[in-house]
Chain length 478, copies 2
């Protein structure tokens, strides 16, 4: 199957934005204009409005016809009733693609919306124009200088995303960026009236800039085609899918949101799993999986050893890891003896798995502890955790120091640990704890550690990650 | 059954702290001393150390004998081997209760620990001393001026907590405080060698300052007694229990942590449910339940209506609420028509449940929208949500303004909505979004709104809350 090459969508030489008003009130056209200018889009941007005028010192053209040069790409922020005229003009101008931010088409109750959607599609096909949307935020692609969000990373990265919701595309970008994830392309596709989820998936499968594919899917236009596309994609890159609309109310909402027919969740779960997709159930879980793929090499099995401070945290960690499907092997008698003999006292410590080192004795002791537990044959991954609000007695100032010390300890493990390692920063409700947790998250992420922000999310992600590799490798150790 | 009155534990007239050193290194005795002084404990505090000296300008006594006045309560931060001498001295001094922060007793592998625990218990019983712990942080009680944490609220409130982990007690305090929750008593009970979970539960049941009981339980000493205590407590106040150690690894960790025999999770789940406890599976979920009890009156049924901004968020909300066990009834035809006619356009909005109002048109429109959906007969609770990172296009500065506007809209509902209402602030990974979310959380909490920080946690808590009241009321509407 040959995928349609959509590369031209992401690298237009010039863009016109229809519906730009230089007004103080909310004005989507102006916002696109500002977002693209601020993001450093390298080509020409032509603002359009029948009334003409100026925006930020630039002439507003009254129509596409009036624009002097070539226009590759049009963003529409005009009301839906003006859409047919706009696309007719675009066809005359030789525009290659038109993105309708405009909504009020197939997704609304009113039958006129559906008629209007058919009409613009008809004109687009006649004029050889591909349509993004309608009813969406459109495209983010740092290499092409495209964005629908003024405050996101300008760095390109290996993650592609297809989203049937602009809000979730924005959220995924924010969530990913905050965790060190950079994107090749984020596609907010809305109703997908012309280009749909299968088109984009086939494109990202062949896109050399995209190494990991993520998708937020409300409904699927052509089931067999999409499943085939997932299967083909999953053969060469991880495909992480958040399929929603499984509940009756969710399916109702999906239809009203983007015309998507959601279908039964159980059926889709089975089919997507069979096709090789990794399924997640929130945008946060999606980015957890991405973090695992980016920052951890695949564990060879399901056995983890956990180390950190706190007995209560250790019990919760043990339960959550077990519930998620992972196992925490017991140490050999020799390893336990070695561990106990490293420390001055057993009091307040637990030399089982999870290991509770309580107040660590020295960086050397910590390094030796890690060495002993990593050497255990049945251990496939390491988990280091910091439980911020568990430090009773310690004042916020002292906590700063203590937590900073643990951060250095974790950083000192870089290039020393060979087994896949996850870091969990958890329990940071206090204001200071929260600030510290995010500072440490950023510092560790920068050094290439896989960081998770709750015990449960780490356990779930790690298990999914291991399960994914188990499916790929028949000789996998359970 | 008459509960042993433990009130004296929480209101000692004087406290001695054994094991205070004025050193720069970690020193638990000194930390208790600082925590209690800083918290404003109103009685006398006597630091103890065989070497004497001074701490923060105060004399350190060499032993309990040397202390001039009466001592009601002793906190032990001495090594476990010195524990028998300390408790012998305490008995001679007429001390009523001794809290062993000291660990290294029944919870460690070494058999000497268990022997030592028996020995201190024997001396305590002979001397008429009640023991808190060993191996715990002890007591927090704002009315009595007691704390084990320097940076927590000095305000007393209606929530009592029993915790077999000091870390989790600390975390619950931080999590609760950050969400406007104030505590009557937090009991970190450790091994519970003398006073155990049943003693404390019976006490909190009769404590007039405690209106809601929460408990983090690793294992139970006397099952039938504890279940009876839960049953009695649940008759007069909500009892929220986080029972851990259900997994094999978790049970292992629990024994090493606080000697607790955890027992099978399925068995406990059934028994605790039968006894009337509300079960949760994390400290965050525990505080979610507390927030529901504090800030929402009980819904009369399982039907919610959800309103906010964002189509993708609406689909996720619908799925998560349905998955949690709640239902989202459809509006009557008339209500839908009324809603649609309120707004200038259907485009970008969803007038189903969840309602997506997109950019709201005016505060009056929002108020009328709420009025219409609240008037729906089959609606038992309202949910208002803000999806921070879903605002594509909007720059951080503009977002500040928009989100602030939504905050005012929600605040304006105060005293207007009659049906139980939950607010969900979600999807705030961006740094600015995060700051805003917590500012708004604080502002809304201050005005008595029940605020949750993720869609899933809100759905799970609301369903548990409704389920709890369903069990109490046979005539409940599903």
């Amino acid at each position: 199957m040959e995928a349609f090459d959509l590369d031209f969508l992401f690298h237009p030489q010039s863009i016109a934005i229809a519906g730009v008003r230089d007004a103080s009130k909310f004005n989507a056209g102006l916002m696109f204009y500002k977002a693209l200018s601020g993001f450093g889009y390298p080509g020409r941007i032509y603002p359009l409005n029948p009334n003409g005028g100026e925006v930020m010192g630039q002439k507003i053209y009254t129509s596409l016809k009036e624009v002097p040069g070539q226009v590759d790409y049009v963003i529409s922020a005009v009301p839906s009733k003006s859409a047919p005229q706009l696309i007719t003009d675009a066809a005359a101008k030789g525009v290659k693609a038109l993105h309708f931010f405009t909504s009020g088409f197939g997704e609304i109750e009113n039958a006129n919306g559906k008629k209007l959607q058919e009409e613009i599609l008809r004109i687009a096909r006649q004029g050889g124009i591909r349509v993004v949307g309608p009813n969406c935020l459109g495209l983010y692609c740092p290499k092409g200088g495209l964005t629908f969000n003024p405050d996101v990373s300008k760095e390109s990265g290996p993650v592609g995303m297809i989203s049937q919701s602009g809000g979730n595309a924005s959220h995924a970008l924010a969530e990913g960026n905050s965790r060190g994830v950079r994107f090749s392309k984020v596609i907010s596709m809305g109703n997908g009236a012309d280009l749909n989820e299968s088109d984009y998936l086939e494109y990202l499968t062949n896109d050399p800039d995209t190494k990991i594919i993520t998708a937020y899917i409300e409904g699927i236009k052509n089931g067999p085609r999409f499943l085939k596309a997932v299967k083909n994609a999953a053969k060469i890159k991880p495909v992480i899918i958040f399929k929603v609309g499984g509940s009756e109310a969710g399916a109702e909402a999906a239809v009203s949101h983007t015309t998507a027919m959601a279908g039964s969740s159980h059926v889709w779960e089975g089919l997507l799993a069979q096709a090789g997709a990794i399924q997640v159930y929130s945008i946060e879980e999606m980015m957890d999986m991405v973090v695992a793929f980016l920052y951890m090499h695949p564990p060879e099995g399901k056995s983890s050893v956990i180390i950190g401070v706190g007995g209560g945290a250790s019990v919760i960690l043990a339960d959550e890891f077990s519930n998620a499907g992972l196992s925490l092997p017991k140490f050999s008698k020799e390893s336990r003896q070695k561990l106990i003999s490293l420390y001055s006292s057993e009091a307040g410590r637990i030399f089982k798995n999870p290991v509770d080192i309580n107040n660590f004795e020295s960086p050397e002791t910590f390094a030796e502890t890690i060495q002993i537990i990593e050497a255990e044959e049945r251990v496939h991954s390491l988990v280091v955790h910091i439980a911020f609000d568990h430090f009773g007695l310690v004042s916020e100032e002292d906590k700063d120091f203590m937590v900073g010390t643990y951060q250095s300890l974790i950083l000192s493990l870089k290039n020393k640990i060979k087994k896949p390692t996850a870091v969990i920063l958890h329990s940071f409700a206090g204001k200071k704890s929260r600030q510290m947790a995010f500072e440490i998250r950023d510092a560790l992420t920068k050094e290439g550690f896989a960081v998770f922000l709750s015990i449960r999310s780490a356990a779930v992600a790690l298990n999914r990650y291991v399960e994914h590799h188990r499916r790929l490798k028949p000789g996998f150790k359970a």
